[in-house]
Amino acid sequence: MKTANGLADQEIFDAHLASQSASGAPEWWLDLKRESWRRFRKLPMPMRKDENWRFASLGGVKLDGYELGDSSPPEIADKEVLKRSENVRQRAGRLVFSNDRLMDSEAISEEWAKKGVIWLPLEQAVREHEDLLRKHFMAQPIKLGSEKFSELHGALCSAGSFLYVPKGVEVDLPLVAFHWTDRNNAALFPHTLLIADDMAKVTLVDFFSAHDRSSRNFICGVNDLYAGPGARVTYISAQDWGRDSLAFHLNSTQAFKDAFITSLNVNVGGRQARNESHSQVLGEGAHTQMQSLTVATGKQEFDQRTLQTHFKGRSVSDLLYKNALLDDARTIFSGLIKVEEDAQQTDAYQTNRNLLLSPTAESNSLPGLEILANDVKCSHGATSGQIDDEQLHYMRARGIPEPVAKQLLVFGFFEDILGKLENEEIAENLRTLIRSQF
């Protein structure tokens, strides 16, 4: 169903609600959706004067001309989709969605299921784990500009993964979710909710991808990470949406006492892709790493908004966003570090590095600090530069042709992050994705 005003149309929501209800979604869940929809309709679209949208191309932020992804069956056969979802072989479980429909649910291995680990498609989790969902589903404040889109997500999302790791359980293989689309104009709302209780350890990877590189889609994904005291959480996402797509990926992270969270987003897709990431340090001694690698080509725009909030001290947040820009691509990085009064002995870092590979590419950086505590170590920095001539010369002096040397230098630019990933299979996947952009 394609409607005049697209995703803001009441018919779209009514149809979604009806299909949710028909598939057995509980009333409390439908109520949440109604509330989100009400708020979505009330909130204004982003406006030029809005500080959170500085430098963004608002002209491309439109809701019309899309239909819900699951409104008709996927065109690409299940088998083919599953075959394309085989790139992480060493895994504890896998979920595959296409156009927001569940294609395959590979249950978590017996070993961890016995220990109480829950790994389910979101819709099933809604039916079976009301308490956890009510407590955690979209419970974090959205502050970085996409409030309206976040409400739209709440109203229309159904596909996604739910992961719960109980106290003290360590899952040493990654859980993997794939979100595909094979239909032009489909709107997708992938959701990821990860809850790691005290001392739990887990890695979750999301792959977002269009089968057809030129696909036009609307994507509004939310991923929320919760790391209880002492938990160690790694979240990785790889975004390769079609090149005519508008994508939002909204993240919020909660790190409690002594928790350690690493999140890494690799972005190569979309026409206009916006990432918002809000990391909250809620317990002493917590450590969050926020990392992002982007290859921006053609006329792509990548818009990155981040917030590192420290409510408690002796904590660390470390942000590193690296962008390689080619052609006429644009990136926007806007980051804020906020250290509350009580958060003494906080170390907070924020670095944005842009490698400009074309004279017509454009990077914008807006770093910021708001420090209310007096005993802190904070730094922020943004650099934009080209390939180092001496490094290039050195490589060429070994007989490596200039284009190859440049590529090696660009891949090298991302290695300080990829080279430190514990999981080599995932790192290699991300390298392949990055390399395929050149």
């Binding site: 490094q391 010369h393 060429r396 002096a397 070994r398 007989g399 490596i400 290695e415």
Partner: protein
Amino acid sequence: MSKQLEIKNLSVTVETTEILKDLSLTLPRGEVHAIMGPNGTGKSTLAKALAGHPDYEITSGEVLLDGENILEMEVDERARAGLFMAFQYPSEIPGVSIANFLRAAKQARLAEGEDLDATGFYKTLYEKMDMLHIDRKFTSRAINEGFSGGEKKRNEILQMAMLEPKYAIMDETDSGLDIDALRIVSEGVNKLRGPECGILLITHYQRILEYIVPDHVHVMWNGRIVKSGGKDLAIELENKGYDWIKEEFAEPAAKA
């Protein structure tokens, strides 16, 4: 076709200052020639101009590698033609491992469509690393990043050993090395010495020439080769210092 590197009447300008002045030198394959001279005399300028560094403008002269003028070639073409430069100050390249770097360099030397034999590559790499007492862990380390001075120099020789150049220019490979490192590096170079390779050993000190005994020694001063001789010339220089060269070959003071 003569198997030699012929530098003919080379003049090189850096930022409007002429540094090399009509310099000529012939290095036959199979020989080791040392170039000695005081700091600032243009030794590195010679090396960099030969390698094709863009900051060094060649205003006149020719450089023939086995009869072929390399000044017409791009930097990477010169290297593939068989010229190797061991840098005095090698670049650090974050994120590019030694293995990947050398694989790319080897791959570039293969015909189009031909793929490097990875197993053979690593076998050779490990052999050369062992020869140079380089820990195998270094293969996955980023080139020169965080390396000590000695490690950087050994890494240069490792690259030379892997790429098997026809002519190698080694720019002060000895500087900054302690005696053990100097011995290891020299042993490495001596193993690469042979009928298929000509080596131009640029040095400030005679010390390395005790380990790598040159066939010829050239003294460079003020952008020119001012004196050439056998290996004894190096010892003479060591004993007498460079001052006598400066006096003997000083240009007549510019007249007012």
